[in-house]
Symmetry: C2
Subunit: 70 residues, 2 copies
């Protein structure tokens, strides 16, 4: 799954650490999401969407080709 986290964070002039703090996760979690090392839990996805005042679908891009992902 792709996402627009880095883009959205930079638009707002935030460091990874600041975003992490705002979302109550670790800096490594933000880095890992931005670099695609893993996907967020749905709870974190909701918190991210709420933080940026957007829908989950506007931030996280699900494409069917990942047909075997869980």
């Amino acid at each position: 799954m792709k996402n627009r986290l880095e883009e959205l964070r930079k638009e707002r002039g935030l460091r990874q650490e600041e975003l992490a703090t705002a979302l109550s996760v670790s800096r490594q979690t933000i880095g890992s999401l931005e670099n695609g090392r893993y996907n967020p839990s749905i709870i974190l996805a909701f918190r991210i969407a709420r933080y940026f005042d957007m829908s989950i679908e506007e931030i996280f891009i699900y494409e069917e080709e990942y047909c075997d992902e869980k």
Copy 2:
């Protein structure tokens, strides 16, 4: 997190097993989601939303009171 899975499934006259097969998960996964034993991964949430032709937000209800969930 609450969700409308059971309601949506029954509206469409599906058994848990049929929905599970359509989504490529086990029947127990559907039952566990319907009964709130755990939350879906974001990938599964996307597949469910796509299956019902709805947004994730229309199916899964995130409320801020779950402030410590991950």
